[in-house]
């Protein structure tokens, strides 16, 4: 299996709280976390804004418990969309490592599954799912490599939301049969995080099998991250990196350039 990841930690402006959440996540054993920036998509054109740079959070990122590498922190954008026409890909998307969409209506869900360029589709955890999951869009999303996300922080806070989370998750499992599911926290406080093996057990309550539940916290999260990375590449194969020419290289070229070029060619 792959390393454990929690792809939804609520982003706040409170730096200390974010630091403590990330430290708790590293202590629990998560190797990758993604800070969520939630944006309600407005009908008028709106600025989504760049996320804060991750390296400003820590000088030295906390080491993941039981391993020798520091935790990896990414940025994620979640768009709450109620109308298909509101979803527009802007230039700001490239600053985020993962793009997620939280569909509010059936039409948006269908569009998100079949055509929108997103990595994750969020399943409602705080309210009863307003629409049913139909097979064609769900299977279309699975084929495209889009993941369905269930978040469990609401379930920890309140018993009614626990019922909604579990019932929404089970109705999703009936349709998708446990494929392409990730479970993440959506934590706003460090106390709302749970360890990865506990979440793998929680997945059993959602109707996932043992292997699927563990994959939901590890391998599927890794696949969602890779899906997000391919958005910055051409067809997922070619990636361009801007290379800056160092200043001293330019100074060395004093000899006749043509002769040097011939030697280099040989």
């Amino acid at each position: 299996m792959a390393a454990f990841a929690d792809l939804c930690i609520s982003g706040t402006n409170d730096k200390k709280r974010l630091q403590s959440i990330i430290e708790t996540a590293a202590h629990l054993g998560y190797s990758t976390v993604a800070i969520n920036h939630l944006v309600e998509v407005q009908p008028k054109k709106q600025e989504i804004g760049k996320p804060k740079c991750v390296s400003e959070l820590f000088d030295h990122f906390p080491i993941v418990q039981g391993r020798s590498r520091p935790i990896r922190v990414l940025n994620r954008l979640t768009l709450v969309v109620s109308d298909t026409s509101h979803f527009r890909q802007t230039a700001d998307f490239k600053f985020y490592d993962i793009i997620a969409i939280y569909p509010k209506t059936e039409k948006v869900f269908h569009a998100a599954c079949m055509s929108c360029d997103v990595d994750i589709i969020c399943i409602a955890a705080t309210e009863k799912q307003p629409f049913h999951f139909k097979r064609p869009p769900v299977f279309g999303a699975i084929e495209r490599g889009v993941f369905f996300e269930i978040s469990y922080a609401a379930a920890i806070k309140d018993s009614t939301m626990r019922r909604y989370t579990i019932s929404n998750a089970i109705s999703l499992m009936e349709t998708c049969k446990g494929k392409n599911v990730i479970v993440s926290s959506g934590a706003e406080k460090p106390l709302e995080l749970r360890g990865p093996y506990d979440i793998a057990n929680l997945g059993l309550l959602f109707g996932l099998s043992e292997g699927d539940a563990k994959a939901a916290v590890s391998a599927n999260c890794r696949a969602a991250l890779l899906h997000g990375e391919t958005r910055k590449t051409a067809l997922g194969i070619i990636r361009t990196v801007k290379k800056s020419q160092p200043a001293d290289e330019r100074e060395d070229k004093e000899a006749p350039p043509s002769k040097k070029a011939k030697l280099d060619a040989m």
């Binding site: 043992e210 292997g211 590890s218 391998a219």
Partner: protein, 444 residues
């Protein structure tokens, strides 16, 4: 006898085979499916629900059967009444316990083979009831455990150097395991005394490494982990040969794997202790001694064991006994008071109250040779008359080791236990319980 198999049965059988349930129809201890196994039984609890003649199954199922990995016989608790969704909730991750009973005086006793084949041990705990102070010979044996080294940031290709091979692998008693790497998340490297280098790597590393390996046995849908085994004592791996150069190139240039290592080499009695060769001592290293902890427990309820009753028909059952032993080792109270909500563990019946008992724990990289000498020391405990009729030795393997016994692959699903426990009796009889978790082969 079902000659015709419906689609639903086919799905059930396939899920059972792939989830790791073995055939209960052939009663063979060891590999789950044997070639002459004809029947496949689906049991619910203890009730035999269905018996399906394997020969009549479609070629698909026969192909699946041939691919099924070594799993132990278990009773599958799924019931056809509950929906497919919640059948998962009734199952627990599989665990296997193999119990053996024999005597040390028996020349065919395989206790030394089991001890020596379990290469990576991290904790040994000895429990002696009716004893106040551990005997001095026992404390000495524990203090004589081989010192081990923690070497940081060692590139794996260093282990292949000619000089390094001379001082480590060619002694035949060298053990190395990567430290702070998880078997289900990271690349794990282990070097066995038999000269095998095991690289249990994640998919990304394997695809970049370029060495030949096989997918892990405990893959779910797509293999995310691959195991590469390189025999360093093989003729084809002699330094200078093509294969050796390729492995060196892969580990030095393709993916420069670098981990912390726990290393130890058992030195023969009489010779000087082994020390790190220069090729390894240039990296930051620390010499460590196995830490010993001794406790005297008072007024402890203790089960009564009879040497010839392994299955627990008159006395306690092996699972219950091991659970109690684990609770004692962890300091969990077994009184099961009505007011306590922390623990409902109970000492299995029949039981006695023991006024004092000794619990010694040794932690570190413990070598099988040292454990063998400790076992010999414990056998000599009963040479003098003692009030205890039994004592136990529990050896835990590393949860993150790539192998459990011999070359059997070990994985970590929800727990990575691979332990064995000796219960020694006065008449040199012993019980041996070997237990493994979900992603593990059957113990030998």
């Amino acid at each position: 006898m079902a000659a015709h198999v419906t689609d639903q049965q086919l799905r059930q059988i396939r899920s059972i085979l792939l989830e790791g349930w073995a055939c209960t129809g052939c009663d063979v201890r060891g590999p789950g499916f044997s070639e002459d196994c004809d029947w496949f039984s689906i049991r619910c609890g203890n009730e035999l629900r269905k018996r399906i003649l394997l020969k009549s199954l479609s070629p698909q199922i026969s192909a699946v059967k041939n691919n099924v990995k070594k799993k132990r016989t278990v009773i599958c608790p799924f019931s056809s009444q509950t929906s497919a969704m919640f059948s998962e909730l009734q199952k627990c991750p599989r665990n296997v316990l193999v119990c053996e009973r024999s005597s040390f005086m028996n020349e065919k006793s395989r206790h030394d083979k089991h001890v020596s084949q379990h290469y990576f041990n991290y904790k040994v705990s000895v429990f002696i009831p009716h004893c106040g102070v551990p005997p001095s010979s026992l404390s000495d044996a524990m203090r004589r455990f081989t010192r081990f080294y923690l070497v940081r940031e060692v590139p794996v290709f260093e282990l292949l150097g000619e000089e390094c091979l001379e001082k480590t692998v060619r002694t035949g008693r060298f053990y190395a395991l990567s430290y702070k790497t998880r078997i289900d998340q990271d690349d794990v490297v282990a070097l066995l005394p038999t000269g095998q280098l095991i690289l249990s790597v994640v998919k990304d590393t394997y695809e970049q490494l370029g060495l030949e390996g096989r997918p892990s046995q405990y893959a779910h849908k797509r293999p995310m982990r691959y195991v590469v085994v390189i025999d360093l004592t093989d003729k084809s791996m002699a330094p200078g040969s093509k294969r050796y150069d390729r492995v060196l190139w892969a580990l030095r240039e393709k993916v420069p794997l670098k981990t912390d290592f726990l290393m130890a080499c058992h030195s023969v009695v009489g010779t000087e202790a082994w020390s790190l060769p220069p090729c390894l001592s240039r990296y930051p290293w620390k010499e460590l001694q196995a830490s010993v902890d001794t406790q005297t427990l008072r007024d402890l309820p203790c089960p009564v064991l009879h040497g010839d009753d392994l299955r627990g028909e008159t006395a306690c059952e092996p699972h219950a006994f091991l659970e109690w032993l684990g609770a004692v080792g962890l300091g969990i109270g077994c009184e099961n008071e009505a007011t306590s909500f922390l623990s409902t563990y109970e000492c299995p019946e029949p039981r006695t109250l023991v006024d004092q008992a000794v619990l010694c724990t040794v932690t570190g990289l413990l070598l099988p040779e040292d454990i063998h000498s400790l076992l010999e020391e414990l056998r000599r405990y009963f040479d003098q008359p003692k009030s205890s009729s039994w004592l136990s030795l529990v050896v835990h393997g590393f949860a993150d080791s790539p192998i459990s016994w011999g070359m059997a692959e070990h994985g970590f699903h929800k727990g990575g236990e691979n332990f064995y426990s000796f219960v020694l009796f006065k008449n040199q009889d012993y019980w041996l319980h070997m237990g493994t978790g979900a992603n593990d082969g059957c113990p030998p």
